[in-house]
């Protein structure tokens, strides 16, 4: 026998004109029966055509409560233990018969049915789950149809397992940020076929937190990719702000960094939705300055802790233009130092949970490290350019040798051409005059990797004159401490002694 519950029936003692209410109106013909129903004195109605027993909600609740209390299973210990085990599970578990009627449900299912939203959420034991899926309307209609089809395939033996992820709860209640805010469920339907009748075991799990964790993890990866691909800090900041906004459904984000001259927080970079209101808001942010400790951004910069204004509590600057009333500000850190703040605005900003705080800490840390590395690289580039400029201004030339002490680089020398120097050792240069220098001591110094200063030697110039030169050098080691050669400078001392 099928047992069903009409969700449209009997909430106020009246017969509803929809759903199974129509069936009941057809079945109940006598005045006394109808009066008893409307007086709330009826527990159930039998449909002779379908053989269904239609339980009214109050009766259904009573039976479910008795079953939950183990009263019905008390006489059967194994069943009772199985029931207790099912009730201990956090996920909703239910067993359907071949017609889709919910034969039994665990405590989590019953709790969900008592306060749930969306299709199928209020289906209790003895009700027809398939019928509830078929009857789903509005936002849930597609999901209801998919689930009903999957369950029927399982019951028909066309598949042993059906798994379906879906959102639940009314779309309207989720607000503008519905894609982020609606709860997510995963329904797993397994075919149970033994010696007895075919059954379908339903396990419905709230995977909202899991999905949210996955989304935040994906955001952290996306931020890492943005930082790997970015060439400049500005590119990186814009890409990271955009990734955060798109992942969390926020309207726009801005980065403020301290101005070294004034120590005030100054606008640096931003990204926002391409709407007029948001772009105007970002444009208006450019001249803003914030003193540390003042305002939301100033407080975050000073405390190093994230701050937020939850949507609907206190209007933010963005509110008048866009209706967005939430703000979330978190620090960008490099080690222990706060080097800036990221401020996000938009609808749908909620009080952050631990996972979101963990994600923004990771993002703030990654971004801070990147910006600091960029700053260090910029300093290095500046220093190198400065050094190169000084070298070019001086009369020195500089050179490098490999580990075999052969010249690999020569720059700035007017006395030697590269082609006659590269690949040769200093004492092998054809124009070097052996006398007048202690090449033996010099080579001994090189052999033990000593630095040397002002080693002078004489060469024969092409015009027949002699030239006197002085070179200095130091050994070079790689990061592993392995000797890789020498580098140094040289200076032309002018005309050497004539022989």
């Amino acid at each position: 026998m099928n047992t069903v519950i009409d969700p449209h029936l009997h909430t106020d003692g009246k017969l509803a004109d929809g759903g199974l209410g129509k069936v009941i109106l057809r079945l109940v013909r006598s005045r006394s029966e109808r009066m008893a129903i409307e007086a709330g004195e009826i527990d159930a109605i039998l449909d002779p055509e379908s053989g269904s027993l239609i339980l009214l909600p109050e009766a259904s609740r009573t039976l479910s409560q008795r079953r939950a209390g183990g009263e019905l299973a008390a006489s059967n210990t194994p069943e009772r233990h199985a029931g207790l085990a099912l009730d201990a599970l956090g996920i909703q578990v239910g067993l359907l018969d071949a017609n889709g009627v919910l034969l039994l449900a665990n405590q989590a299912w019953r709790a969900g049915a008592a306060g749930g939203n969306g299709f199928g959420a209020k289906v209790c034991e003895h009700a027809n789950y398939l019928a509830a899926c078929d009857a789903a309307t509005g936002d849930s209609q597609v999901d209801g149809a998919m689930i009903a089809a999957g369950i029927r395939q399982v019951l028909a033996g066309q598949r042993d397992l059906f798994r379906y992820d879906h959102a639940d709860g009314p779309l309207a209640a989720a607000g503008r940020n519905a894609a982020v805010d609606r709860r997510r469920y995963q329904l797993t339907v397994t075919r149970v076929a033994g010696a007895g009748a075919v059954r379908a075991l339903l396990a419905r799990e709230d995977v909202s937190e899991h999905k949210r964790g996955e989304r935040l993890l994906a955001l952290e990866y996306a931020v890492a990719r943005c930082l790997a691909d970015a060439v400049t800090p500005s590119e990186a900041l814009t890409a990271v702000i955009r990734a955060v906004c798109e992942s969390l459904g926020w309207d726009c984000g801005r980065y403020f960094r301290p101005d070294p001259a004034t120590d005030l927080l100054r606008f640096d970079s931003a990204w926002g939705l391409p709407t007029e209101a948001v772009q105007q808001f970002l444009q208006a942010s450019r001249p803003l300055l914030f003193r540390p400790g003042t305002g939301l951004k100033g407080r975050v910069y000073q405390s190093g802790q994230p701050h937020w204004v939850v949507d609907g509590f206190a209007p933010t600057a963005l509110a008048p233009a866009t209706g967005a009333e939430g703000a979330f500000v978190f620090p960008v850190r490099s080690d222990a130092q706060v080097i800036g703040v990221l401020a996000f605005s938009g609808a749908g900003i909620r009080e952050p949970d631990d996972r979101l705080l963990q994600a923004v800490r990771a993002i703030g840390g990654q971004l801070g490290q990147f910006l600091l590395r960029q700053q260090a690289a910029e300093t290095l580039r500046r220093d190198a350019a400065h050094f190169r400029a000084l070298t070019e201004l001086s009369c020195d030339w500089h050179w490098q040798q490999d580990r075999e002490l052969r010249f690999t680089h020569l720059e700035g020398s007017s006395a030697f051409g590269s082609d006659e120097v590269l690949g040769k050792r200093s004492w092998e240069l054809p124009s070097v005059i052996a006398g007048g220098s202690d090449w033996g001591s010099h080579r001994a110094q090189l052999a033990v990797r000593w630095s040397f200063h002002h080693f002078e030697f004489t060469v024969a110039r092409a015009d027949g004159q002699r030239g006197r030169f002085s070179i200095s050098g130091e050994p070079v080691y790689d990061a592993a401490g392995t000797f890789t050669g020498y580098r140094g400078t040289g200076i032309d001392l002018g005309q050497g002694p004539q022989r």
Partner: protein, 113 residues
């Protein structure tokens, strides 16, 4: 199982012709649903007070025996069927209207303990 002057929970339907001295009743209920529980309590009170020793009551749980109810034309529960003596009668609801129940059972209004 149809004990006389008493209640048989979830029992099979009564067998054999009722005697004219006995009021034979069959109450269709749904397990421990609220109106069913109330109907059983109300009926037992009426029987104990007005039909002491002169009734047979059988209680049928339609969850266990739906076909029996359908075979007897019962489509809503709780439903009390008076099977004998004639005329037969049916009362729908939780039997809280004692006068109505007594009239259906053929018990005079002035009848008392």
């Amino acid at each position: 199982m149809t004990p006389e002057n008493g209640r048989s929970s979830k029992a099979r339907p009564p067998a054999g012709p009722p005697t004219t001295s006995m009021v034979v009743l069959c109450l269709y209920v749904v397990d421990q649903a609220p109106n069913s529980v109330q109907a059983v309590a109300n009926l037992e009170a009426i029987c104990q007070r007005h039909l002491k020793g002169k009734f047979k009551l059988e209680i049928i749980d339609v969850i266990e025996f739906p076909q029996h109810a359908l075979d007897n034309g019962v489509i809503v529960t709780p439903c009390l069927a008076k099977l004998s003596p004639s005329p037969t009668a049916r009362i729908i609801g939780n039997l809280s209207d004692t006068d109505k129940v007594m009239r259906a059972l053929g018990i005079p209004a002035a009848s008392g303990p």
